[in-house]
Structures are given as structure tokens and as C-alpha cells.
Amino acid sequence: MKILVPVKRVVDYNVKVRVKSDGTGVETNGVKMSMNPFDEIAVEEAVRLKEKGIATEIVAVSLGIPACAETIRTALAMGADRGILVETDVELQPLAVAKLLAAIAAKEQPGLMILGKQAIDDDMSATGQMLAAFLGWPQGTFASQLTFADGGITVKREVDGGMETVALSLPAVITTDLRLNEPRYASLPNIMKARKKPIETLKPADLGVDPTPRLKVLKVVEPAKRKAGVKVADVAELVMKLRTEAKVI
């Protein structure tokens, strides 16, 4: 089974993000960029499925500016076999991403697509569900365990108030939760090997998709800051303040 894993280049998890003073967005110039953490979990899951003999080939896909090739290289170093870069300067929103991925899926005919449940930049949590809709495939979102049996896939997934297990027919779209696995670090030899793995470059037009954004960002502002309060000496003072000052207990 071939697995397609989309990977997004985002501001690194550890960077303290700053809103630009002109209100047009957040500062990304000179900021460390990395693979979206949930996408790392997706790549790791695909690699484990290949190690178990369930997957035969892993294709990492990224969409955006040429630098997204670095994100694909990271996936290749983790164990993906080849990459596809859809190159564009247009700001891609989940609708366009899902359409582009659906077009790639139509060409590549994967048995499974594994995505992160959410990108930590726009926090949309939408692409996987939309991709599944475009393909007419079932979706297993927020997944913490995958089991393959009888030509289908069983997905343990987070729901409000606990977990549930659903059975999906294949092909299917999965989105990863934190609990699915702990991604590996790429070894130096694998980083070297990844340099030789092929990356195909396409344009949105090659896939017949208009990537024009539907949401216009009018402005981005910093949220109101909370003021630091006071340190209290002991629990007696705390309870007194909660009762008489805050009046919340």
C-alpha cells in the first residue's frame, strides 16, 4: 500500500511568535521554520507501517514556496521514499491545499493518506476532513491508534469526553493526534541518504487547481495581555482572596 503524507513548513514550535507592528501578520523573517509537529507524527506512523510491511512506499508532499522542499527532505530523512513539491507563492488555505492534495491522490492512487490533525500556525484543523470529502473517502480524525485488518482500517480516535473506535474502508484519510506515536530523530546517515531521494516539482496549474484564497486577512493584532497578579503567602491568604476579592468560590 502506498501512503501519501502531506507535510507543512511552519514556524518552529519553540519560537515565541510576534505579531508584526503593521498588523499584517506574524513575523516570519529570520525565524526558525520546521515541520508541523503533527505532520512529524504522520510521517513517523507511515514509516512504522512500512517497517511492519503494511506500507510499500511513502510519498511526502509539501505545498508552498521553494523552501518547503526542506520540509520534504526532513520527511525523506525520517524514512519517506520520495517527495512531491507543489510550488506556489500564493498563500495556501486549507480549501486549496485539500484540492491540490486530492488532485495528487488522483494521480498517485495511495491506499492511505496520513495528515497532522492541525497546523500550529493557522490552527485551522480542517485539511484532512476536506481532503476526505473531495476524495469521497472516510475520515479518521484525531487518531491515537491505527490497526489494519480485513482490508480496512480500525481507528481509535479522540471524541469529546473520551475515545471511540471506528472502522473505515480503504482508501481513507487519517489525521494524527499526539498519542499516535513519538516521532524519531533522523540519523545522520539517513539525512545523507535523503539528499539523493527524488523530489518532483509541480505547479497548482499542473493539477488544475485554482489556489486563490477565499479568506482575506484584514488584520492581525496581539491579544490583550494579562497582567501578572500577586504572590500570596499561603493557602489561607489564597482562599481568603478567592472568597472576598475575586468572589469566585
Binding site: 514556524v11 511568535v17 505579531v19 506574524v26 488555505q93 486549507p94 480549501l95 485539500a98 490533525k117 500550529i120 500556525d121 490552527d123 485551522m124 484543523s125 480542517a126 476532513q129 476536506m130 481532503l131 470529502a133 469521497g136 472516510p138 475520515q139 480524525t141 484525531f142 491515537s144 479522540e158 471524541v159 469529546d160 469526553g161 473520551g162 475515545m163 471511540e164 473506535t165 471506528v166 472502522a167 473505515l168 474502508s169 499526539l178 498519542r179 477565499r214 479568506l215 482575506k216 486577512v217 488584520k219 492581525v220 493584532v221 496581539e222 491579544p223 494579562r226 497578579g229 500577586v230 504572590k231 500570596v232 499561603d234 493557602v235 489564597l238 482562599v239 475575586a246 469566585v248 468560590i249
Partner: protein, 311 residues
């Protein structure tokens, strides 16, 4: 302009996040609601009592019993022509279904809105709430999930909606429900609780989370956790408060042994009052806390329980 709101329910009552989604919808204009499930007459009647609700559309059938996204999305698409806006709370339920609906309608969804500016324009947090983006949609129809913590929920009583049955939608065989393991708790749900007490890595192990119990019992609080505590396996994933977990805004949030990473703050910084208990006085959590206690949580928690007990 009429909005349709997909409601989270437990077959009997309408959950609080869904009532917040109705509040958001009412800011846009009129609101109808959809109750889908199996054996949901009581929930439909509860929905009809929500103030401001016009029609309650009820989809009662086995296909909807477990909230699978595939049949629900098909149902919402069938209902969509009558509405300008489709909304749901950004719960696991809403986040699973609405983007699927949006794709089927060729619409870019607007996730997790924190404010309504006008019919086309909304404010939503980005980068774990480090930025608030005002976005304007050029789609004719809007598909929206609502950050429940940002909208005061409508009351449970006072409305008089009319109940009608949903149209039938073709059956699907893509997905099938097998089982669920819901965390059994006498406590309120995290996203609806008036008080939340959360533990972090400082709790050291899952057993120590029991130290939070007497305090939670006394305050009627829900118990949550930071991602670090969830990652360490102390507590299940559904305890997680933060950017990729649950977003809460209770009257009182008590953070115990939580350093205060940006990703955690994203999930709780809109709380009315924040209390931090941490032995590291430099911990970033103190920068957002109204009241802080610097101390060993294993000493402070039993003392706090005793102090509350004293009344």
C-alpha cells in the same frame, strides 16, 4: 439571513459549547438548529427551549447514532441551501464534521471564531492565540466553528422553537462505529466547568492527580492537565487543556505544577481568575496568574484542601 447550528448533545440535553455556538449564530441573524442522533427526542425538545431558536431539525436514526462525519456531512449539505451560515461548536464533534461539509460546498471553513464582526467577517486566534486575525470570507455561504469560551452560551430555557424531521439522506458504508470508551466522571466537563483545576509535569505521576480530587470536589471543578502531563501518560488525552487540546475560560482556573508554556496558556488565558501553584518562582505561569503560591505542590495541595474544608 438564517444560520443553521449543528448541536452537540448527549441525547437528553444540549451541551454548553453548542449553546455558545447558538449565541454566535444569533449575532448573525436568525438561527435554526440541527439535532442528529438515535433516540434524540428529548434533546430535540431541549433544543426547542433554547432562546432565539426558530426551527429544530431532528435527524433521528441509526445512521446518526454515533456522530460519524460521513453521514452527518451529507445531511448538512442537503440542508445547506436554506442557510447563509452553517455553524457548530469547535468541539471534537464539530471540528470533525464541519470542514467536511465545507469541502462538499466548495467553501473555505472559518475555524474557531472568537468574535463576529459582520456576516462575512470574523475574528479567530492563530499561532496558539498569539495573534488574533480578522478574516473576511468571499464565499457565498459560510461554514464556521465557534470557540465556545468566547461566547456566553444562550440559556437552557425560554425559547419556543418548532420541531421538524430532517430529510432522508442516502446511507453510506465508508465508516462504521465500533465502540467508545468515555471517561466516566461525576465532575463537570472541562469546557463547561465554572472552575477548572489542572495538573502539569510537576505532578510527577498519574496517582498524584488524586491530590486534586478533594479540591475539585469542594469547588465543583473539572480536572484538566497540561500537554506535558498528557505526554508523560499521567492522564488521558481528553484532559489536555491547550492549543491542541481543549480551550477553557472558567471563572477560576487553578494551574498546579504547570510551568506555563505558550501552548498551555493558549487554552486557558481567557479564564476570569487564574491561580498558579508552582515551586519555581520564575515559571512563566506566574506572569498570567492573578494569585500565585510559590511552593511544593505536595505540601500546598493538602493544605488547600484542608483550608477549603474548614469553610
Amino acid at each position: 439571513m438564517t444560520a443553521l447550528v449543528l448541536l452537540d448533545h448527549d441525547s437528553a440535553a444540549i451541551k454548553q459549547p453548542a449553546r455558545s455556538a447558538v449565541a454566535a449564530a444569533l449575532q448573525l441573524g436568525a438561527a435554526d438548529v440541527l439535532v442528529a442522533g438515535h433516540g434524540v427526542q428529548a434533546a430535540a425538545e431541549a433544543a426547542a427551549k433554547l432562546p432565539g431558536v426558530g426551527k429544530v431539525i431532528v435527524a433521528d436514526g441509526e445512521a446518526y447514532a454515533n456522530g460519524l462525519a460521513e453521514p452527518l456531512a451529507a445531511l448538512l449539505v442537503a440542508l445547506a441551501p436554506a442557510y447563509t451560515h452553517l455553524l457548530a461548536a469547535s468541539t471534537a464533534y464539530g471540528k470533525n464534521v464541519l470542514p467536511r461539509v465545507a469541502a462538499l460546498l466548495d467553501v473555505q471553513p472559518i475555524s474557531d471564531i472568537a468574535a463576529v464582526v459582520d456576516a462575512n467577517t470574523f475574528v479567530r486566534p492563530i499561532y496558539a492565540g498569539n495573534g488574533l486575525a480578522t478574516v473576511q470570507s468571499s464565499d457565498e455561504k459560510k461554514v464556521i466553528t465557534v470557540r465556545a469560551a468566547s461566547f456566553d452560551p444562550v440559556a437552557e430555557e425560554g425559547g419556543s422553537g418548532t420541531i421538524e424531521a430532517a430529510p432522508a439522506v442516502a446511507a453510506q458504508t465508508l465508516s462504521r462505529f465500533i465502540s467508545s470508551e468515555l471517561s466516566r466522571s461525576e465532575r463537570p466537563e472541562l469546557t463547561a466547568a465554572r472552575v477548572v483545576i489542572s495538573g502539569g509535569r510537576g505532578m510527577q505521576n498519574g496517582d498524584n492527580f488524586r491530590l486534586l480530587d478533594p479540591i475539585a470536589d469542594k469547588l465543583g471543578a473539572a480536572v484538566g492537565a497540561s500537554r506535558a502531563a498528557v505526554d508523560a501518560g499521567f492522564v488521558p488525552n481528553d484532559y489536555q487543556v491547550g492549543q491542541t487540546g481543549k480551550i477553557v475560560a472558567p471563572d477560576l482556573y487553578v494551574a498546579v505544577g504547570i510551568s506555563g508554556a505558550i501552548q498551555h496558556l493558549a487554552g486557558m488565558k481567557d479564564s476570569k481568575f487564574i491561580v498558579a501553584i508552582n515551586k519555581d518562582e520564575e515559571a512563566p505561569i506566574f506572569q498570567v496568574a492573578d494569585y500565585g503560591i510559590v511552593g511544593d505542590l505536595f505540601v500546598v495541595l493538602p493544605a488547600l484542601a484542608a483550608e477549603l474544608e474548614r469553610g
